[in-house]
Amino acid sequence: MRHRAAATLTAAAALSACAAAPATTAVGAGVPEQASLHASFSPNRLGASTTISFGFHLATAEGLAPPPLTSVVLHMPAGMNYTLTTLGLAICQPAVLQAKGVRGCSPNSRLGSGSALVEVPFGTGSGHEIPEIQALMGPPTRNGDMVVLFYANGQTPVFAQLVFAGEVLPDTGAFGSQLATTVPLIPSVPNGPDVSIVSVDSTIGPSHLTYYKHVHGRLRSFHPLGIGVPEHCPRGGFPFTASFVFQDGSQASASTTVPCPPPVRHRHHR
């Protein structure tokens, strides 16, 4: 594994960077990274099967591309209901995904999709989009925890197909579960510096997903049920937090809340 030499800042510069980024936390001897997080439910309705959309943006205090990301943990609100979801009725094996792409796996293993923006260390700073990121159900861990596989099909600046896994773990307090994802280093060129992830947007849920099942010998399509929105909304909304670890050992975090859904008006028929 290649290691990027940690950049250093004077104490004054570090303090000013922290003051300019009140929504983020910078830990470590490296350049402080800024992170922002956004999340939403669709539909945003208590108890409803929903599609979770989430995304994050990373940068340094100077607005430059951050160091390569090595892990991201997304903490999701307590009360998310996994009981009735029919997402991930099939398993996609990582080796098959790596070799054949998403077409090598059953449509019933798909969980969501998204895109990413990456930057090469010698780039112009405008970023390069990876237009295709797919989330699929992977084989559970030895502990039985659910695994979400992310497949990134990159064309430029790096032609590479990447597979990385996130583990769904229980959480505590205001958060009921977390998606802990290890991000592989992405070499820009052989033996060259690694690519930086600038932003990622993805969904986990039935939106734009079609599954298939055999009914009386015929193949029928259907839309899976998503994870349930909690039945009760805490004051201030549903909290999401993400924590990031970078190749140089620095860390950052960001939080957001999904607003409580409007109360449902019941019509009274006379």
């Binding site: 108890g47 209901n81 996994y82 009981t83 009735l84 029919t86 991930g88 009725l89 099939a90 398993i91 019933n108 293993s109 159900m137 084989p139 559970p140 502990n143 039985g144 925890d145 659910m146 769904v168 773990l169 229980p170 009921g176 579960s177 099942k213 039945e231």
Partner: protein, 169 residues
């Protein structure tokens, strides 16, 4: 002479009819008392039985609320009857359950916890269950740490459950 036995001795001699009738009534009463005594001591004298419970239940979802799945089906094996399970998915990897079995001569109720893992179209759970109460022939039923395992078809929440272990009745 064992505990609870009463011996009635009637000595043959000249017994007048009235005396014989009185003696018969006394004897019958003594016998009845002896039978009652033996019956009462018989209840306490019968030791609790231990049976090897080996149950399989096939259930379907009847309703759900929040994190709870309510299942109903048929139990077969050592005890046959209807079975109801309330499965509470307490976290991404843990469930708790209340199990009620209704054979023709009573009922059994137990509570269990299990690890839960989802693997594509099927989820499995594995843990232990304790029988805490019963009715009818199972009024004194008791069991601890029965093996409690099963599978849930994620497409329709149909559940198969297995209970194994020693049950005192």
């Amino acid at each position: 002479m064992g505990e609870g036995e009463v011996i009635v001795v009637i000595t043959r001699s000249f017994v007048s009819p009235r005396a014989a009738a009185a003696g018969g009534l006394i004897g019958a009463t003594a016998c009845a008392l002896a039978l009652c005594a033996s019956g009462a001591s018989g209840a306490s004298a019968v030791a609790a039985r231990t049976i090897s419970l080996n149950e399989t239940g096939h259930l379907h979802l009847t309703s759900h609320h929040g994190f709870k799945l309510n299942e109903q089906g048929t139990a077969s094996g050592t005890i046959r009857g209807s079975i109801y399970i309330h499965l509470n998915v307490t976290s991404t990897n843990r469930v708790t359950a209340e199990v009620n079995i209704y054979p023709h001569n009573g009922s059994l109720t137990g509570y269990g916890t299990a690890s839960y893992r989802s693997n594509g179209g099927q989820a499995t759970f594995s843990g232990t269950l304790s029988i805490s109460r019963g009715t009818g022939s199972y009024a004194h039923a008791h069991a601890s740490r029965l093996s409690f395992t099963g599978t849930i078809q994620r497409s329709n929440d149909a559940t198969t459950v297995h209970l194994n272990g020693k049950l005192s009745v």
